[in-house]
Every structure is written in structure tokens, then in C-alpha cells.
């Protein structure tokens, strides 16, 4: 077994260990730069409170962005795609069967036509 650390991917290569070394170097650099930073940060004082344009912070439970709100714009913009696609997943098991029979017919058709041509 002549395995090495580099994976040949056909037209390129991939060496994860090299990338990890690079990451370590970057993290060390970041930590060094961070060490030059401001040292007057104090826990538990006014400094650590979130600043919302001067308004008081709301209830913690209400501040969390819930999953349903994430990517709302994306889904709204692609409504033309999503409405029919989500609609096709009816949850009705007979529809699943119709899909199965339909796909089987299409695959058989392609295979049989492929031989005739």
C-alpha cells in the first residue's frame, strides 16, 4: 500500500494535512494580533450588555431568530419553484405508487428505445 498524505484527484491534488498546518499558522497569527488588543474589557459590567440603538433588550426568548424566519427572502423569491415542488409531496401513499409505476414505465421505455436505435 503506497498511500501518502496527498490524494490525487485526476486533474488536481488534495492534502488535508497541509491545509490544517496552514489553519494552525493562521490561528497562531490571529492569537498574536489579538494579544495586542484592548485590555480594558471587564465581565459583568455595562460593557457586556447588548446595545440596540439605546432601546432596552427584550425578553431572551423573543430575541432568538427562529428557524422559520431564516431564508424567508430566498423562499419568497423562488415561490414559483417551491409551490409546485412542495405541493408534489402530498404524503398520500397512492401518489407515491403512481410515481413508482410512472418512473418504471419511463425507465423501461428509455432502455427499450435505446436498444432499437
Amino acid at each position: 500500500m503506497d498511500a501518502s498524505l496527498t490524494l490525487e484527484t485526476g486533474s488536481g491534488f488534495w492534502t488535508p494535512v497541509l491545509l490544517l498546518l496552514g489553519l494552525v499558522v493562521c490561528i497562531v497569527l490571529v492569537l498574536i494580533i489579538r494579544a495586542f488588543g484592548e485590555k480594558s474589557y471587564k465581565r459583568g459590567t455595562e460593557q457586556t450588555k447588548p446595545f440596540l440603538s439605546g432601546n432596552a433588550e427584550g425578553n431572551k426568548d423573543a430575541m432568538h431568530v427562529r428557524a422559520g424566519n431564516i431564508y424567508w427572502g430566498f423562499l419568497e423569491a423562488l415561490k414559483g419553484y417551491y409551490t409546485p415542488t412542495v405541493g408534489a409531496h402530498t404524503g398520500d401513499v397512492t401518489d407515491y405508487l403512481i410515481w413508482y409505476i410512472g418512473v418504471m414505465a419511463v425507465v423501461l421505455g428509455i432502455l427499450l428505445v435505446g436498444v432499437l436505435l
Binding site: M1, D2, A3, S4, L5, T6, L7, E8, T9, G10, S11, G12, W14, P16, V17, L19, L20, L23, K60, D61, M63, H64, V65, R66, A67, G68, I70, Y71, F74, L75, L78, Y81, Y82, T85, V86, H89, G91, V93, D95, Y96, L97, W99, Y100, V103, M104, V107, L108, I110, L111, L112, G114, V115
Partner: protein
């Protein structure tokens, strides 16, 4: 050393027999204590895995192995005076043993995980019996060299996995189980009809003997189409994927992780049928391109529809289930490209081989990280009591281990360097680009959307302030963490040493799929 030799000789059946016998011993062992049963089940899977490693070493050194039942010695393939094998036979080559590893590693993680994950429930003795039977179903499909035997294990797998899906009747689990069983039953019956079509023409059920004698008549083409659709449906590819999210959503988390490997066992059957069983005849009739393109189209559809359907989901397991559909697309794309250029050796050397390497490497990567992700989803469900992401938040404060495992899994599935998912996706991107640039671009876009939807899950479940509902949440029990650790460890090893993984286990699998003449030769002899 005689003992090791004995084990090695009978390894193909021992891999299967250990979980099968232990499955029916489990209710007896449960009588002693719950703990004894848990350890017993895990030991059974670990023992089977050890036997598989022993067999793998032998196969990588000496080539594929046949094991014949009922003969005076397991090596006698053709009884005297016979031209065709008449006995049930297991034929284990690089691809089979590769799939066996996947099934057993995930089953090991899942069985350790379920020690604590099921502690609220009763009836666990039969639960573990079914779990081991599910392992048997997968292993049987992967080891067998007999096509009817494959059908039998296919049905064992369907029955045990849908029974496990609906094992704890709460909410909508019975619905998911019934849908899964109904579709599997009809798929299985059509597979049986296709097997009958083949048997009626060639009078053999052995895959190698069938492969050597198939003429590619119209009936054979019909059988190929029916077999392909049946296995595509079971492996959860678009447009036959609809039952996959339904079943994955409601099953217990460790069973969902095993349902992923169950779908991959069917993927293996699909590859075995299209490469080995029909490999010779589709090359001779120049239709490998058509068959390959069917797989590619199904793969691209799965990737795209799967990931776009995952984005709007707010049920964490349903979201991940759609990602399972999407990742299956990568495997079908990679291996489909290999199949589409199978008869053209210049293209095969240029990119086809690498595409298959990528597709097959992705199978094991996917089983590991998707298994891990489902287990973390189970941990969230265990602590919060809900699958709804809209109700979760701030779990990272109390569940650091789960959050860490989730990050590993999410980075791997999105193909972020340096994880293993990146290595296999890179292989697919680069080789598929030479086949058709558009397919490669679609694959990359899908990868980005995958990352996007896992960012959504991570943000809404783990980040944010601690919510008042989960003030008392704490880290999940140790055994669940150990179960996740098993899969995470494999991911880390494959991430760091992708070349070792590809050369050691993936390349023999690819060679085994492409070398259908060798598969036939092992049984029938001659060419």
C-alpha cells in the same frame, strides 16, 4: 493459528451468522438484565466487524472469495459434471466487504447510542432483536452471490426496518412505517418478478452464472429496468424519494442512522445489478451510455430537488432526511458517470475511474456523517422533546458535545475542507467536469445550499440565548456520546488521510465493480 484459519475460511457466513444467532438469543439474554443485553448486542456487532476485518485482509491480499453452502468444502463451486452452480453461494469481493464495513460501523455506533436513547421505553428485547435482524438484512444483501437470496434479504431488511420505524407508536410513527413497508413490499415484488424473468430464461439464480449467460433479450431489458427502479426507489432517489423523508422523520434516531445504511445496501444492489449482472451484456450491446445516463439524470434530480426541499423544512429530522436524498444523488452521479463511459477505455482512464472513486468514497463518508447528524438530531429530540426547529434554541450552552459533533457532521456534509466530504466531492467535481461541466456546477451549487441549510439548523438549534423552556437541559447520557464518537472518529480519520482510505478500501471496491469478468470467472471458470 488453526483457529484464525478456521475463522478466516468461514468468515463470509460468520459475518452474517453472528448477528443472526444473537438476534434470537437477545430476548433470552434480556432476562438477565438490561445492561447484559446491551453489551451482548454491541459485542455481537463488534465480533461481526472483527470477522469482516479478517476477511477483508484476506480479500485484499488474495482477491474475491466464494463461499458455497451445502458442499463438502466451501471452496467447491461446481459439483462434478455440472456446468452451472446449483447451490446458494456467497461471493465476497472488494465492493461487498466495503459495504459490510459501512453497515457494521454505523450499526456499532447506533447500538451503543441506543443504550441510553431508549431508556424511556419498554419492550427493548424485541427492539434489539429487530435491530440485529436489520443488520443481517443489510449484510446478506451485500455478501450474497445469489440473486434470489438477495431478494430474501431485501425483504428481511424491509420488514425489520419498517417495524423499527414504527416500533414506538407515538404521534405519526405508524404512518411512516406503513408507507415505508408498502412501498418496499411493492418494490420487492417487482424485484421478484424481474428475478423470475431472468430465471425463466437461463435456469440459474447465481449472479455470476447469470452474468455470463445473459443475452440482453427484450425480457432481460425489462428485468433490468424493473430491478433498477426497485432499488432506486429503496435507496431514496428523486422522484421516488417521497417515502424516505416520511420514514426517516419518525423513526428513532439510531434507527434512522441505520436506515441510511439500509438505503445504501440497496444502492449496492443497484450497482451490482448494473455493473456485474448486466455489465458484460450492456457493453456488448453498447447501451452502457443509456443506463449510465439514467443513473446520472436520477442523481442530478436527487441532488437538486433534495437540497431545495431541505431548505424550507423546520422539522430537524425531515430536513436531514432530504439531505440524505440529496447526497445519494452525488453517489449516483459519480458512479453513473463511471457507468456511462464503462465501455470506452480512454475516457474511463481519463475521468471515469476517478468519478467512480469519488462516488464510492462518498458512500462511506455519507454513511458516517449522515449517521452522526441523525444521532445528534436524536440527542436534540432526547433533551427538548420536539423535532421542531422553531421551538429550539440556545442548546449549545448546555450541550457542548452534541454541538461539537453536529459541527463535524455539518462541515463534512457540506464539503468544507478539510473534512472527508470535501475529498470525495472534489473527486466527483473534477472528474464529472470532464464529462459535462454543467453537472459539476450543479453539484457545487448543491453543496453550497447544503451548507446554507445546515447553518440554519445550527443557528436555530444551538446558537442564541438560553431559552426558558430548556433551562434544565443538560448534556445527553454518556453512551449516546460514545455512539456519536465512534462515527466522528471515522470521519476525522478519513478527513486526515483521504488517500489512505481511497487506496485501501475504495480502490478495491471500484476494481471489483469494473471487473465483472473476474466475478464471473470465480464461479463459472473460463472467461
Amino acid at each position: 493459528m488453526q483457529f484464525v484459519e478456521f475463522i478466516s475460511t468461514h468468515a463470509p457466513i460468520l459475518i452474517l451468522a453472528i448477528p443472526l444467532i444473537c438476534a434470537f438469543l437477545t430476548p433470552l439474554v434480556s432476562r438477565i438484565s438490561d445492561k447484559a443485553r446491551n453489551i451482548f448486542v454491541t459485542c455481537a456487532i463488534a465480533l461481526s466487524l472483527a470477522t469482516a476485518v479478517l476477511l477483508a485482509l484476506d480479500i485484499y491480499a488474495n482477491g474475491a472469495r466464494t463461499y458455497v453452502f451445502g458442499a463438502t468444502s466451501p471452496g467447491i463451486v461446481l459439483p462434478s459434471g455440472m456446468n452451472l452452480p446449483i447451490r446458494i453461494m456467497y461471493e465476497v469481493d472488494g465492493m461487498s466487504i466495503f459495504m459490510v464495513f459501512i453497515s457494521l460501523i454505523v450499526a456499532l455506533g447506533a447500538s451503543i447510542y441506543s443504550w441510553a436513547a431508549t431508556d424511556k421505553y419498554t419492550g427493548k428485547d424485541r427492539y434489539y432483536t429487530l435491530l440485529l435482524l436489520m443488520v443481517v438484512g443489510m449484510l446478506g444483501m451485500e455478501l450474497t452471490g445469489d440473486i434470489f437470496n438477495m431478494f430474501v434479504f431485501f425483504e428481511i431488511l424491509s420488514i425489520s426496518s419498517s417495524a423499527l420505524t414504527a416500533y414506538y407508536i407515538e404521534g405519526d410513527s405508524a404512518e411512516g412505517g406503513l408507507k415505508y413497508m408498502l412501498l418496499s413490499a411493492i418494490g420487492g415484488l417487482f424485484v421478484l418478478i424481474a428475478i423470475t424473468l431472468l430465471y425463466s430464461q437461463y435456469n440459474v439464480l447465481n449472479m455470476a452464472a447469470l452474468a455470463s449467460s445473459i443475452q440482453y433479450t427484450t425480457l432481460d431489458i425489462v428485468a433490468l429496468g424493473i430491478l433498477m427502479t426497485g432499488f432506486v426507489m429503496k435507496c431514496g432517489a428523486v422522484p421516488l424519494h417521497m417515502v424516505t423523508p416520511d420514514a426517516y422523520t419518525v423513526s428513532p434516531a439510531n434507527i434512522t442512522a441505520m436506515l441510511v445504511t439500509a438505503s445504501q445496501a440497496c444502492l449496492y444492489a443497484l450497482f451490482r445489478v448494473s455493473f456485474t449482472l448486466f455489465g458484460k451484456s450492456i457493453i456488448e450491446n453498447m447501451t452502457y451510455g443509456t443506463v449510465g445516463i439514467i443513473l446520472i439524470v436520477i442523481g442530478v434530480l436527487s441532488m437538486f430537488v433534495g437540497v431545495t426541499m431541505a431548505l424550507p423544512q423546520h422539522d430537524v429530522k425531515r430536513l436531514m432526511a432530504y439531505h440524505a436524498v440529496s447526497q445519494t444523488g452525488y453517489m449516483l452521479l459519480g458512479v453513473g458517470v463511471g457507468l456511462a463511459v464503462m465501455g470506452d477505455s480512454s475516457q474511463m482512464d481519463a475521468f471515469g475511474y476517478k468519478a467512480m472513486e469519488g462516488g464510492i468514497f462518498h458512500i462511506i463518508n455519507h454513511a458516517m456523517y449522515k449517521g452522526l447528524l441523525f444521532l445528534t438530531a436524536g440527542a436534540m429530540l432526547y433533551m427538548t422533546g420536539t423535532r421542531d426547529l422553531n421551538k429550539m434554541g440556545g442548546l449549545g450552552h448546555k450541550m457542548p458535545w452534541t454541538a461539537g459533533f453536529f459541527i463535524i457532521g455539518a462541515l463534512a456534509i457540506s464539503g468544507v475542507p478539510p473534512m472527508n466530504g470535501f475529498a470525495s466531492k472534489l473527486l466527483i467535481y473534477e472528474s464529472v467536469y470532464q464529462f459535462s461541466p454543467l453537472l459539476s456546477i450543479i453539484a457545487m451549487v448543491v453543496s453550497i445550499l447544503t451548507l446554507a441549510s445546515f447553518v440554519k439548523v445550527f443557528h436555530s438549534a444551538f446558537m442564541g440565548p438560553q431559552l426558558s423552556d430548556y433551562r434544565n437541559a443538560k448534556e445527553v447520557p454518556k453512551s449516546m456520546i460514545v455512539g456519536m464518537c465512534v462515527l466522528a472518529a471515522v470521519i476525522v480519520v478519513f478527513s486526515l488521510f483521504p488517500d489512505w482510505a481511497v487506496k485501501t478500501i475504495v480502490d478495491p471496491a471500484v476494481d471489483a465493480l469494473l471487473n465483472n469478468a473476474g466475478y464471473v470467472h470465480n464461479v463459472v471458470g473460463g472467461a
